[in-house]
């Protein structure tokens, strides 16, 4: 079982995104985990993991021993292609509205993945986020959350405060008119010289529990961060901009990295569940509301017409001249408005009937997908830890992407003796600068005291003739 899990774990680093690639790809699983696997074996293993609900069992393995203060949460949409009618959402990276799945992923301050849950793409983050954050808080002990503007609302701030959770978010630009909207006082200056202000709304809003931090740069738009009372208690207001800005590196760039070398965007499992068509339900609800409003308008217009008709009859019986004329004109206008309202109502009724009987749409069974995303997060966490150790012994700055390119993806040779293990890394094709960098990395690896089954492990560079 350990070997099969390792095969799934290392697969993305070996260029195996979908499991079928195991059958076609020239991969070193044999030397890496001691056995080569075909996709059928790994697919069967994934099915078994699905049966035992491995996602729930493995989720705590993501949580590091030391408790973090802040948790970053963001949703990531993954496109899905199917011939079945499925629920749709906006797949940000493709810029299309299509079927897919929404992974809601939590990271801590160190960039370690903590939690993942999948939701259908048509469910907005704001509908699920409070429950999600409550679960994360229970699992990790961290109760401060940083989320992007997808959850920006007073209602959301109140919901978080009610659950005893802290939320740091940003206001939309159209919700304020700069510093003038707030009763703010200067609290500090950022490294770039930008002044930071803090305070509540200028005009008191008793129903709004949020506190605001305003960053007003010399040029460009004013940025307004908001936090619930719990955030205000736990974090210095001058820290809010920095903490929020780190969201990009922890999450947005984290997702990009996981797409590149963790197969985050790969779909696993094709099982589907039929569910009521929520798009149709929403359209029907909207039309029902519009029909109700149209009916009210028709009734109102009918009353007006009836009133004018009575008035016209009255004027005719009393022998009014000019007033009769005025009332007749008003009756004509009223009658036209009634016809329009009736027409609008008929049109809406037609649309409502065109929706037809309640339909169903397919929904993905996310169990396999969740297990594989967990695998991706575990892999990313392991890579982050490895990089932290490696950077600790190097005196140069080198990115994970660079390490993946110049060390992980390169070929070489391996020799194991009874007392040591030696790896040679081929340097063919490396530029002088990258060769120099790889030399330093290899030197660094030498100081990490790597071991293989108790034997010391050495790494050497090897130049091959082209």
């Amino acid at each position: 079982m350990r070997r099969r899990w390792q095969a799934l774990f290392f697969a993305p680093l070996l260029g195996i995104d979908t499991l079928t690639a195991c059958d076609t790809h020239e991969h070193p699983l044999q030397t890496l985990v001691g056995r080569g696997y075909q996709s059928s074996t790994l697919r069967q293993f994934l099915g078994q993991l699905e049966r035992i609900d491995a996602a729930t069992a493995l989720m705590p393995a993501l949580v590091p021993p030391q408790e973090g203060q802040v948790t970053y949460v963001d949703g990531h949409m993954i496109a899905y292609w199917s011939r079945l009618s499925m629920h749709k959402g906006k797949i940000t990276m493709l810029g299309r509205i299509m079927a897919g799945s929404q992974a809601v992923i939590a990271h801590n301050e160190a960039g370690h993945g903590l939690f993942v849950a999948y939701h259908p793409p048509d469910i907005h983050l704001s509908h699920i986020i409070v429950d999600y954050c409550y679960k994360v808080s229970t699992a990790t002990g961290s109760s401060l959350f940083v989320i992007d503007r997808a959850v920006n609302s007073v209602a959301m701030a109140c919901a978080f405060a009610k659950q005893g959770l802290g939320l740091l978010c940003m206001l939309d630009d159209n919700e304020h008119a700069g510093l003038a909207s707030f009763a703010a006082t200067e609290v500090g200056t950022l490294e770039d010289g930008t002044k930071v202000y803090s305070g509540p709304w200028q005009a008191p809003r008793p129903e709004d529990p949020r506190h605001f931090v305003i960053v007003e740069p010399a040029e460009g738009k004013t940025l307004v961060y908001w936090g619930t009372p719990k955030v205000k208690e736990a974090l210095e207001t001058t820290e809010w901009p920095r903490v929020y800005r780190e969201r990009s590196e922890r999450q947005e760039n984290g997702f990009k990295r996981m797409i590149d070398h963790g197969a985050l965007n790969t779909n696993y499992g094709r099982k589907k569940i039929m569910a009521p068509d929520r798009h149709q339900q929403r359209a029907r609800e909207k039309l029902t509301q519009a029909l109700e409003a149209a009916q009210k308008r028709v009734d109102k217009k009918a009353e007006v017409v009836k009133a004018y008709q009575d008035k016209v009859v009255e004027s005719a019986s009393r022998g009014h001249g000019k007033r009769l004329e005025q009332r007749q004109r008003a009756l004509v206008i009223g009658a036209k408005e009634l016809t329009d309202a009736q027409h609008q109502h008929a049109k809406l009724a037609e649309h409502a009937s065109a929706l037809g009987p309640s339909r169903e749409r397919a929904e993905r069974d996310f169990r396999k997908q969740t297990i594989m995303t967990l695998r991706t997060l575990l892999l990313e966490n392991a890579l982050t830890s490895f990089m932290a150790v490696l950077l600790g012994v190097l005196n140069i700055q080198v990115s994970l992407d660079c390490i993946l390119k110049v060390l992980f993806e390169r070929s070489g040779a391996r020799m194991e003796t009874d007392s040591q293990v030696i790896y040679w890394v081929n340097t063919t094709g490396l530029s002088v600068a990258y060769r120099r960098r790889l030399t330093k990395v290899v030197d660094g690896l030498g100081t990490m005291d790597l071991l293989h089954q108790g034997k010391p492990l050495y790494v050497r560079l090897k130049a091959l003739s082209p």
């Binding site: 350990r2 070193p28 992980f408 391996r414 790494v459």
Partner: protein, 146 residues
């Protein structure tokens, strides 16, 4: 029909050491044969050094020794002398257990070794085993392959 020396068996060679060379006596030839049998891969120069250390040095050249080795089928392959067991020489002189001359994704192997050393897979495997046990106890009649 007289047999040529090259066609003689090893046993015959031992029985007729005097025929091997006119300069060597029976005892001297037997001594050389014994040394070579104890260490068939021993380089001839090392053997000559041994000969030189004996109380009564044997008058034998390296060429003569090599001819004898061919005859007794105790000669080595061409090339530099190998380590014991015929394994390739390594810097530490240790025995090679496994050699992979072409290995894809070297860094991933290093990373895997680092993870193994950190015992990173142990918690995951332990949790999976727990989940399997829980599943088995909840579904005792299920056929479960894990």
């Amino acid at each position: 029909m007289p047999l040529t020396p090259s066609k003689r068996t090893l046993a015959e060679a031992v029985c007729l050491p005097g025929d091997a060379g006119r300069k060597l006596g029976e005892g001297e030839t037997a001594l050389l044969w014994q040394w070579l049998h104890e260490d068939p891969a021993c380089p001839s120069r090392v053997l000559l050094a041994k000969v030189a250390q004996t109380q009564s040095p044997i008058a034998v050249s390296i060429r003569h020794l090599n001819r004898l080795r061919v005859k007794w089928k105790l000669n080595r392959r061409k090339g530099r002398p190998r380590q014991a067991g015929g394994s390739r020489p390594v810097s530490s002189g240790a025995e090679v257990v496994a050699l992979t001359p072409h290995l894809a994704c070297v860094g991933v192997h290093l990373f895997a070794d680092w993870l193994d050393h950190q015992e990173s897979f142990a918690p995951v495997v332990a949790r999976l085993i727990q989940a399997i046990q829980a599943y088995k106890s909840a579904h005792p009649d299920d056929d479960f392959a894990l």
